[in-house]
């Protein structure tokens, strides 16, 4: 490839990044696609499709064949060199440079070998990460995130006969519970904080989304088939166990999001999959100076951020599922192909994707307020509950900082207790600390998207251009 030709770097090869890379490559733009994982697919496609048995709902089947088509198109572009794929490349930072951008990544078994990718434009498709709110016992082995449970499934670590509880809030709990049940795990309960009456109130609006309802109905049918008890308006108040998880206590919530006393009930299980929704990964966007809000990176109808030459798509701009991520990525790729070639894009060319995006964003906007952790979830936290695992800070310490030291928001609570200063940079405990401190935005990690050796930082950008000794241009997986 000649360096004069403008190239697009796409960070993240999940649904959004893949769609962006393919749309741009189809329109003649050279693309470098980077992802930290060993293959493309992101959160959604990386896992094998949950095997829901013979009566697999049509919606899922659809998804799976869509994925096969994406992979075939990617293989075509890899073969011609139109797309270069850098798998197992962790982008730790990106910066503006004359004529474009530098994307700094680490690769190799120790994640310590540097490479810098130069590009005329960037698509940020870094997805999101799962939010988990603490409760007494949440650090016991056997308590995993909802996404982690799917990984366990993949590794066949969860075998038939094991008992799992799936808990938290959000639409992702359904597929996780259904997936676990389908692979032979006894799902002893699906515990969802949301109130079903709220859904009934929105029934008229929701009826406008038959495909999404069909998907949900498919999961519901699977749960019914596997006799999974569903406990709406409930929450896990405690996980029990000495060396590992043995049981959980779940309790009902009242109308104001408080635990109803006397409703606690113990359920034996050896796995608890918890999740309280996804939060956007926005480190790279922020270090590049792109505007972000709580929900994610701010974009315009072409998926452009407010920094010229940078697009963003998928979960990093706000949640809404894989189909939405695909639509947004497609639009970003089309827009980038035109704009980097110096043309104004013809939005009529992506009218279909724009319609899908509009519908799914509206759907997500309807669902969003229905889900959410119980308003007073932090009341269940005993003082000795660890909040920050990296720095070993418990809830009592954070409360004391607020009461005695004048910590009035998440940032000062962090400064005064070290909660959130450790390896994960508050990705895990940020929301909990913010709640205990009585508000304020959760502190945002950064500016590095990954820890970086100082020697690499000191010479960032000095490596020979895209010299990647022994890098593998991995063909898409089976």
């Amino acid at each position: 490839m000649t360096t004069a030709e403008p190239r697009l770097a796409v960070i993240g090869a999940g649904p959004a990044g893949l769609a962006a890379a393919l749309a741009a490559a189809d329109r003649g733009l050279g693309v470098t696609l980077l992802d930290a994982a060993d293959g493309p697919g992101g959160q959604f496609y990386r896992q094998p499709a949950p095997a829901l048995g013979a009566r697999r709902p049509e919606a899922l089947h659809h998804r799976w064949s869509a994925w096969r088509r994406l992979r075939a198109r990617l293989a075509g572009h890899l073969a011609t060199g139109q797309v270069r794929q850098l798998t197992a490349h962790h982008v730790w930072c990106a910066e503006r440079s004359p004529g474009g951008f530098l994307v700094h990544a680490l690769y190799g078994p120790g994640q310590d070998r540097p490479v810098t990718v130069r590009a005329a434009g960037l698509v940020l498709a870094t997805g999101g990460y799962e939010q988990v709110l603490p409760f007494p016992g949440w650090t016991l082995p056997g308590v995993v995130t909802a996404g982690g449970a799917q990984a366990l499934l993949k590794g066949n670590l969860v075998r038939a006969g094991h008992r799992a509880v799936v808990a938290g809030t959000g639409p992702l709990l359904l597929p996780v519970a259904a997936g676990l049940a389908a692979t032979g795990t006894r799902v002893a309960a699906l515990v969802e904080a949301a109130d079903p009456r709220e859904f009934t109130r929105c029934a008229a609006v929701l009826a406008g989304y038959p495909a999404q309802l069909a998907e949900a109905a498919g999961y519901a049918a699977a749960l019914l088939r596997h006799r999974v008890p569903v406990r709406p308006r409930h929450t896990v108040v405690r996980a029990h166990g000495t060396v590992r998880l043995e049981a959980v206590t779940v309790a009902a919530l009242d109308g104001r999001g408080r635990v109803r006393s006397g409703t606690g009930r113990r359920i034996a299980c050896d796995t608890l999959a918890v999740g309280h929704g996804l939060l956007p990964s926005t480190e790279l966007a922020r270090v590049l100076g792109c505007r972000t809000e709580d929900r994610g990176v701010t974009v315009d109808p072409e998926q452009r951020t407010d920094v010229p030459g940078i697009w963003a798509a998928g979960e990093t701009t706000g949640g809404g599922g894989a189909a939405l991520a695909l639509a947004e990525g497609h639009i970003a790729g089309c827009s980038a192909a035109a704009r980097l070639a110096g043309r104004a894009p013809d939005s009529a060319g992506w009218a279909g994707a724009a319609r899908t995006r509009g519908r799914l964003r509206r759907f997500a906007a309807v669902l969003e307020p229905l889900y959410g952790p119980p308003a007073h979830w932090d009341e269940q936290l005993t003082d000795d509950t660890p909040v920050c695992r990296c720095e070993e800070v418990d809830a009592g310490t954070v409360r004391a900082a607020v009461r005695d030291l004048g910590a009035g928001d998440a940032r000062t609570a962090k400064l005064l207790t070290r909660a959130g200063m450790g390896w994960c940079q508050g990705r895990m405990c940020g929301p909990a600390v913010a709640a205990l401190a009585g508000g304020g935005a959760r502190p945002t990690p950064g500016p590095f998207a990954r820890p970086v050796p100082l020697g690499v930082l000191a010479r960032a950008g000095e490596e020979p251009e895209e010299a990647v000794p022994g890098h593998r241009a991995t063909p898409p997986g089976p």
């Binding site: 000062t412 005064l416 020697g455």
Partner: protein, 387 residues
């Protein structure tokens, strides 16, 4: 009435309460939410040339040591009197350091030249080939946010009242022009004296009282590494750091100060540039900090940086803080503009302000720190931030 609950305001409230005064401390945010929560906590005498700032630093260092020895307080604020080592890579640089040290010794600083071959006894992981250095045993450190919070806590225990989440929007004055309190977004608070401890925003607060005070933000970054076992014993910095501190330049200067912390991570500070309140992270500044730290400590090459944070130092045109009563507005007392040394200088500043408020003669002559020393702006290159 102290406005600003950073380390400086906290120290003013603490010492004023100790004088038996009735004290209220107001901040629009939480305690330590300003620059205090975004900097490092070096308490340095080593980086100051003989003169009024060094005198304030020596007073402050004594007071920090007193506080640090107090039961519980020292550990609570992570006070460590670990000493500093300034190193030079060239013989001319070393000669310069020795000259500075001689002057500092005359002013009462403990400063011991260290020959090249003894440097690594002091600091085993230092790079080979340095020309020499100076050891400053008085240099110490605290964790700044904890220092502010514990000073506030002690002030409250002595009767001070804390009002967080309350923005001062005006300074109330009587017919004769004297201060009688402040207006806030949640009502008025009355007091015969108002202390301006608003850090970078000290100029704005002075403006509310109708006087000009040129305080401008000077941005700085700190790099934080993964936690390490204690391998760096002192605060170690290169001689060129001194040029950066003393220089008033608006352009970026980076010269590393490397230090371990009680919690494990190594802190690498600090860059200096005057770019207004710009919160973006330019990679070149971070790159320069990392490179400088590796020049001092080659083993850092493979150590990972996990984050970086930035803050805005309260800068004044002549690089001295503004401490003492404002002759233009009776009842207004300033305690701001400490730039990159506000943590270190907080105790001395608090003590001096408390003495002024109590009507006593302050321990130091406040003339060099007086608020009306700045010339009125002429033309367009007026205030600090305009350059």
């Amino acid at each position: 009435m102290v406005v600003g609950a950073g380390t400086v305001g906290a120290a003013c409230a603490f010492y004023a309460a100790g004088e038996g005064l009735r004290v209220a401390l107001v901040d629009r945010g939480p305690v330590a939410g300003g620059t205090t929560g975004a900097g490092e906590g070096n308490l340095l005498v080593s980086d100051k040339e003989p003169g009024p700032e060094l005198e304030l630093a020596l007073l402050s260092t004594r007071l920090w040591a007193e506080l640090g020895a107090g039961t519980g307080f020292g550990t609570a604020v992570e006070y460590e009197s670990k000493g500093g080592v300034v190193v030079a890579s060239t013989t001319e640089g070393f000669a310069g350091l020795e000259r500075l040290a001689a002057g500092q010794r005359a002013a009462g600083v403990a400063a011991r030249p260290v020959a090249a071959d003894q440097l690594r006894e002091l600091e085993p992981r230092l790079a080979p080939g340095l020309a020499g250095g100076v050891h400053y045993p008085q240099d110490a450190q605290v964790m700044p946010a904890l220092a502010a919070a514990q000073l506030v806590r002690a002030a409250r225990a002595a009767g001070a009242r804390l009002h967080t989440g309350r923005t001062v929007t005006g300074v109330l004055r009587d017919a004769a022009g004297a201060v009688r309190g402040v207006r806030t977004d949640r009502g008025e608070l009355h007091a015969p004296a108002v202390v301006n401890a608003a850090g970078c925003w000290g100029g704005e607060l002075a403006g509310l009282a109708g006087v000009r005070l040129p305080v401008a933000p000077r941005r700085g970054f700190v790099l934080v590494t993964e936690p390490l076992p204690p391998v760096i014993r002192h605060k170690v910095y290169a001689a060129d750091y001194l040029a950066g501190v003393a220089g008033g330049s608006a352009a970026l200067t980076t010269s590393p100060v490397v230090e371990g912390t009680a919690a494990g991570p190594v802190l690498i500070g600090a860059s200096r540039e005057r770019v207004g309140f710009d919160r973006s992270f330019p990679v070149p500044a971070l790159r320069a900090l990392a490179a400088g730290a590796i020049r001092l400590f080659p083993f850092l090459e493979r150590v990972r940086a996990i984050r970086s944070y930035l803050g805005f130092r309260p800068w004044t045109p002549d690089r001295l803080p503004v401490v003492g009563p404002d002759p233009r507005v009776p009842g207004l007392v300033h305690a701001c503009g400490h730039e990159g040394a506000g943590i270190g200088l907080a105790t001395g500043t608090g003590r001096l302000v408390a003495q002024v408020l109590a009507g006593r003669v302050p321990d130091l002559d406040l003339t060099p720190f007086r608020p009306d020393r700045f010339r009125e702006p002429t033309g367009s290159r007026a205030t600090g931030e305009a350059r």
